[in-house]
């Protein structure tokens, strides 16, 4: 049952990722990407990390994708006026894709014996309660840093996208 679910989810993830890239209309791309992110959240749920699954949906599918869609629509890019890349580039892209895939997979195959069989101990390590404690004890400094980073990003985004005054 879980196995089947995993394969379905994987198929959705990969397929929607491909479609994200291949669809000509950026809005379609964005929608495919949302689906991709949902499926990844499903993977997280499968792995029993409910907190991350939720956060992922909120941050990626919610915030980031809304931001992207908003930008696309702001720029009025919904019509697919993009000029296709030259055929050579496309071939190179495909070659690269195959090459890096081949090398990663084969290097994994080389190292496969290193992976031991998995044993579950039943220790609670990924409930929201535990994660919260870890985050605010061990990682409190990076946590605060992340907060500052987001603040800076906000300020920076406002500053960059602000319309320049003509006089300047």
């Amino acid at each position: 049952m879980i196995e089947i679910l995993f394969y379905i989810l994987s198929a959705v993830t990969l397929g929607s990722a491909f479609l994200t890239i291949l669809s000509k209309n950026p809005i379609h791309s964005a929608i495919w990407l949302v689906i991709c992110f949902f499926s990844i959240a499903g993977h997280y749920a499968l792995l029993n990390s409910q907190f991350l699954a939720m956060v992922h949906i909120i941050v990626y599918s919610g915030a980031i994708m809304i931001l992207m869609l908003f930008t696309i629509m702001l720029m009025n890019l919904n019509i697919s006026d993009e000029i296709a890349k030259p055929i050579v580039t496309k071939i190179i892209a495909t070659v690269c894709f195959c090459l890096i895939g081949f090398f990663l997979v084969s290097s994994l195959a080389q190292t496969a014996p290193a992976l031991e069989t998995y044993t579950q101990t039943g220790v609670d390590f990924q409930t929201i309660q535990v994660l919260g404690k870890v985050l605010l004890n061990e990682f409190v400094l990076p946590f605060e840093m992340a907060a500052i980073l987001l603040l800076m990003a906000m300020i920076g985004a406002v500053l960059i996208s602000k319309k320049e005054k003509k006089t300047a």
Binding site: I2, E3, F6, S10, T13, L14, A17, I21, L22, L33, C36, F37, H43, Y44, L47, N48, S49, H56, V59, Y60, I64, L67, M68, T71, L74, M75, L77, E82, K85, K90, I92, A93, C96, F97, I100, G101, L104, V105, L108, L115, Y118, Q120, T121, F125, Q126, V130, L131, V134, L135, E138, F139, A146, L149, L150, M152, A153, M154, A157, I160, S161
Partner: protein
């Protein structure tokens, strides 16, 4: 609850993450629309996240998930800034075609 890793094994997740990453890289090479390239980057990031979560479960260690959490924060910041830059570029040259953005080269 029965664990997914016992049934499908960690290597399946690794293959999935590899493929996802490759698709992201392919996207960047294949498209010239800056926003789609951004999406490709997000896909690559998510491949790494997925792997982190899988290994976190595998090692029964919360640290991996904490890292994913931080990665998300960074990704959010990155998208915000990146899109802001794209908006600024669009305002200036009226396009976000990446091949037209070569003015920074030395």
């Amino acid at each position: 609850m029965e664990n997914v890793l016992q049934q499908i094994g960690i290597d399946q997740y690794i293959y999935l993450a590899i493929l996802l990453f490759c698709i992201g890289a392919f996207g960047i090479l294949y498209r010239r629309n800056a926003i789609v390239m951004f999406m490709s980057i997000e896909i690559m990031l998510n491949a790494a996240n997925l792997l982190l979560v899988a290994f976190s479960t595998y090692h029964e260690d919360a640290n991996g998930q904490v890292f994913v959490f931080f990665t998300m924060a960074v990704a959010a910041a990155e998208v915000a800034i990146g899109l802001a830059i794209l908006v600024a570029i669009y305002r200036n040259i009226g396009s976000i075609d990446i091949d037209k953005l070569k003015k920074l080269k030395g």
